[in-house]
């Protein structure tokens, strides 16, 4: 593995240009609310958020790789570490911790102690069952997919539902082998 992999995103976070946290939070809140009014079904909203996240993720990954000179991860464990320490810090300003590895090392949990998305947020009774931060799972999924890891990302714990932290379970479904060398005409 490359020694040059940054173990934390602080450096990058320090010199990415930022937007006001409240503005960011409120914007996201507005989006979710709008989705709720448009789609009416909480489940639909969860799907939509995940889809949006996916679309973000598949774009975000390039910026991530460009800005943080992360080299190729040897295994999924390392990938998870990088996401948690560098990725989250870089884009969300918080670092997650990785835990709950299963034996095969294909399934782990990213645990967010605090989450800027949910400042001020309190779920009303009408939309329990909403995964407010479902966009994050989508982002992770999309990003990993672009580096040829099919994953399944699900929420295990959610502070908005009274849990003590946000726990995002990332499960590696399969690793698509990248064929080298690519043919020129493709």
């Amino acid at each position: 593995m490359a020694p040059a992999v940054p173990r934390s995103g602080d450096a990058i976070f320090a010199n990415v240009e930022r937007v006001n946290a409240e503005l960011f939070t409120l914007t996201y809140g507005a989006i979710v609310r709008q989705l709720l009014t448009d789609l009416e079904e909480v489940e639909e909203v969860n799907k939509q958020l995940d889809q949006m996240g996916y679309n973000i993720g598949i774009r975000l990954i390039d910026e991530f790789l460009a800005k943080s000179n992360v080299t190729r991860c040897v295994d999924f464990r390392e990938t998870a570490e990088v996401i948690a320490k560098v990725g989250f810090k870089m884009f969300l300003g918080v670092t997650a911790s990785v835990s709950n590895w299963d034996t095969e090392g294909t399934c782990c949990s990213l645990i967010l102690e605090d989450n800027p998305l949910v400042d001020f947020v309190e779920l009303p009774d009408t939309c329990q069952g909403l995964y407010y931060c479902n966009i994050l799972s989508g982002v992770v999924r999309g990003a990993l997919e672009m580096v040829s890891m099919k994953t399944e990302v699900t929420w295990v714990r959610d502070m908005l539902r009274g849990d003590d932290a946000f726990e995002l379970q990332v499960k590696l479904l399969k690793q698509v082998p990248e064929e080298y060398p690519y043919k020129d005409d493709e």
């Binding site: 809140g29 609310r33 001020f120 947020v121 309190e122 009303p124």
Partner: protein
């Protein structure tokens, strides 16, 4: 002791009224708060009273009822906070401080994307926070 704290919208519609007494005097407190709005309007409409401190949000003592004191606080979006207390001599600084903390709590509450502006504040966390603030604040007058 603080008897009641209320948030009143810019159309003078009650957004949040919380009384901290065991007694069932919700109605009376509603009346007091509602009544105090007149004074708020008065204060706002002829600002010569609050001449020196322009755009000052703290309105000070609105009016003393027989056994309460009513304080007011007006945000720049014309949302009013009304405080009803039984402590008869209170230092303005304390009240001011209280309102400042209450204001920040209010801000977070209305930042909740699920809160509809101009509608009643139903947030539980807000209620808890307010209760804590009220508990923490005590208008003990130092002479």
């Amino acid at each position: 002791m603080i008897v009641c704290i209320a948030v009143v919208g810019h159309q003078n519609n009650p957004l949040y009224i919380q009384s901290f007494t065991e007694a069932d005097d919700a109605l009376k407190l509603h009346h007091i708060v509602h009544c105090s709005l007149d004074v708020v309007d008065e204060r706002v409409n002829n600002p010569k009273k609050s001449g020196p401190m322009l755009n000052e949000t703290f309105l000070g003592l609105l009016y003393p009822t027989e056994n309460y004191k009513v304080y007011g606080y007006l945000t720049n979006t014309k949302v009013k906070f009304i405080l009803v207390t039984t402590d008869l001599d209170v230092r303005d600084a304390d009240v001011r401080n209280f309102f400042r903390r209450f204001h920040s709590a209010y801000l977070d509450a209305v930042s909740n994307p699920f809160h509809v502006p101009g509608k009643k504040i139903t947030s539980k966390t807000f209620a808890e926070r307010v209760t804590n603030i009220v508990k923490s604040v005590s208008f003990h007058t130092t002479g």
